[in-house]
Amino acid sequence: MASTSFIPSGDFRTSYAADTTIFPTRTSRNFAILGIVALCFAPNLFSAYWLSVSIQIGIFSIAALGLNILVGFTGQISIGHAAFFLLGAFSSAYISNHFPIPVFFAIPLAGVVTALVGLIFGVPAARLKGLYLVIATLAAQYILLDFFSRAEWFTGGSVPASANPFSIFGYTLRGDRQYFYVVLAYVLASYVLVTNLMRTRDGRALVAIRDHYLSAEIMGINLTKYRTLSFGLAAFFAGIAGALYAHYQLVISQEGFGIERSILFLAMIIIGGTGSIMGTLMGTAFVVLLPESMEWISLHLKGGAVDHALSLNTNITFLREIAIGVIIIAFLMFEPDGLAHRWRQIKAYWKLYPFSH
């Protein structure tokens, strides 16, 4: 559910602009700005490992945001998101390799290309509901994956494709330290854009479709148009994220981006909270950090008592996969509204401390 905070009496708004602000108070807005400024200094303070983890969180949060528009705000479902992510990656590499377009422009162009393909897949998917919609998006996943492994002209076939590093007007950015700022800029832009979208007429139409599509249709909202639009938007952000990923890794391979990655994107938004934009970022951070902490745990368990007791040996790597599944189930059972809801509860608790009930 999109957040609606109950405003206490005496706190009233006198204009529509004041009513639809993103930050309800000046303090929260200043905190947000301070946080972004602090992040600008992060590359100098973080170690290489944490820098790469934050860049990954940034990239995947843009893709998860796209999926949240589709799943959290429009009530559809897609298990083909990873394929659009890859499409963005390959298109950006293709555009920057084959045309004299610098990478700076190739990234948004790749987003547009992916959005167009997403619209194509959205046209049949917009008329389907429930299980049939899931299967249709599953079809998109496999069609695109097969296309990538066969289309030698586009991806080079089964061999990983190579992408150029990010360059802007002749100046090439090398290294994670500089790429962090590119990703930060894109994350900020995407999140501001989507938050804005949710305050506009179209955003409200999407939410209406999710809440009760029959009423929405009676009110005059064109269901097909908005559902298809939603698919296109989701694909756009997936494409942007994929393009950023391509120019970060400099090598694009389809391994690890099959259906398991699509499920992981779904996990990101479920864990973060389906209708919440801040929740997307929290959920992505959680899901990206989870395998890292599992690796750390399994590294320290290796050779120890638990390893011998369960005779894990080399199977300890599967502990990581098991943990991810268990966490998703645990969240669905105990925290269905995600981390965003939990964060709001924590804030509410401390607001009234020690008088909370």
């Binding site: 944490w50 391994e255 745990i297």
Partner: protein
């Protein structure tokens, strides 16, 4: 019972954040860091597990016997599940300015080929488990491959091994006195590793007078490949190259035996081993494949004692039978060790010097492994270490249940040497 207490949840949150904040352990100053990519859970884990185990055992043995030049080796083994993105992420960690590794023991074709540019840029040598011919051209002089000055591997390349097997197959066809043109088909997954020798193999097959049939695709995972066997049967192929690792090749061998396909299977170095012969049983009888080492486990060679000592690092009883991949991995790791040793005496163990250490000797066999590792020569212009291919035939003469040691000891599973092919070092065959 729902866990509703907010204190519990806050505690849970703190603990999970604390766990997530853990970073990797610091490196002692007087150690040689080496990165190790292993596949213990991915598409090639059936052969990746013994290879990775051997590398870990070899460096543990080296450390136990004084390290390299007095310094201990810090081997950072990571299971990357045969996924290129994870390999790239690990490479980023190993090539960071602080804690930069002196060398990498690599694995798969897709990730090693993807890393060639980065390795050259960051000057880190990589001895891989991939024998793709595209990794053999240090300067890009062949025009067929990207320059890969920091890539090495011990053993014949996939392309050279296939060329050797085709040379043998042509003679075998004539020796059997069969009329007409023999038919050759390439089988493997649509993946860089099985695809690596396809062009070279099909070109040489045509040159030798084979009729080349359209390639057949089967995945790296074990499965039901009866469809491919029926295609094989109906096309009338005589020689079929299996490009995948043992696990999926076994599925094909069994399915084709059931379908009654009469074809001579040619494997790659990873395509068949003693465990594979045991699992496939009589379906594996007659498969021809190359061996990278002069002898297999337990063979009669002075160097086998060293291999057995190394095996004791993870198997103190000495009873585990080690497949051919284990022995080959010991050779790979020991070549790297001697290259680092040379570098330590000639200017320090930076990656650049270690790469130069690979050019130290002609017909080089690591100390202690005489009679096991084949003599290899790497030069600045040519990273084809060896062009001598030992072809073996797997012979299975009975039921293969039971301990592998017994089966090998009784001779139920045998690896018979059929021919050693010395390929000419042709420039036309360089790099592909």
């Amino acid at each position: 019972m729902r866990i509703t207490s907010i204190r519990f949840k806050a505690w849970l949150g703190t603990v999970s954040i604390a766990l997530a904040m853990a970073s990797s352990s610091a490196l002692a100053a007087d150690q040689i860091p080496i990165g190790h990519l292993a596949d213990y859970s991915g598409g090639t884990s059936d052969v990746g597990t013994p290879y990775g185990q051997a590398v870990a055992d070899t460096f543990a043995w080296i450390n136990k016997n004084g390290g390299i030049g007095g310094k201990q080796v810090a081997l950072d083994t990571n299971d990357y599940g045969y996924q290129v993105p994870r390999a790239i992420a690990l490479y980023k960690k190993w090539s960071a300015a602080d804690g930069k590794v002196s060398a990498i023991i690599g694995w798969g074709t897709a990730d090693t080929e993807a890393l060639t540019g980065f390795l050259a840029q960051d000057k880190i040598p990589d001895i891989s488990g991939s024998y793709a011919a595209a990794l053999t051209d240090p300067e890009g002089a062949s025009g067929k491959a990207k320059p890969a000055p920091y890539n090495f591997f011990y053993g014949p390349s996939y392309s050279d091994a296939l060329r050797a097997m085709l040379t043998w197959a042509a003679e075998d066809w004539k020796a059997k006195g069969k009329p007409g043109k023999p038919k050759f088909v390439h089988m493997g997954a649509n993946h860089p590793y099985p695809n690596a020798p396809k062009a070279a193999g099909e070109a040489l097959a045509t040159e030798l007078g084979f009729e080349v049939l359209p390639p057949l695709v089967f995945a790296l995972t074990p499965g039901d490949y009866s469809a491919q066997c029926l295609s094989l049967k109906s096309s009338g192929a005589n020689y079929a190259y299996l490009g995948n690792t043992a696990a999926s090749n076994i599925s094909v061998l069994k399915a084709c035996k059931t379908a009654g396909v009469d074809v001579q299977f040619l494997g790659n170095v990873w395509g068949m081993d003693e465990n594979g012969a045991k699992t496939a049983g009589d379906a594996a009888d007659g498969v021809v494949f190359p061996l990278r080492t002069a002898v297999s486990w337990g063979g009669n060679a002075p160097g086998m004692k060293t291999v057995m000592d190394i095996s004791k690092m993870s198997d103190p009883t000495g009873k585990v039978y080690r497949p051919v991949h284990y022995v080959a991995a010991v050779c790979s790791a020991m070549y790297m060790k001697e290259a680092i040793e040379w570098a330590a005496q000639n200017g320090g163990t930076s990656g650049e010097n270690v790469a130069k250490g690979f050019y130290q000797k002609k017909d080089w066999v690591p100390a202690g492994l005489e009679g096991v590792c084949n003599p290899s020569t790497w030069t600045e212009k040519d990273h084809r270490g060896t062009l001598k291919v030992d072809l073996y035939r797997a012979k299975v003469s009975g039921a293969t249940e039971g301990d592998l040691n017994d089966l090998m000891g009784k001779g139920t599973i045998k690896l018979d040497k059929i021919k050693t092919v010395e390929l000419p070092r042709k420039p036309e065959w360089f790099g592909w």
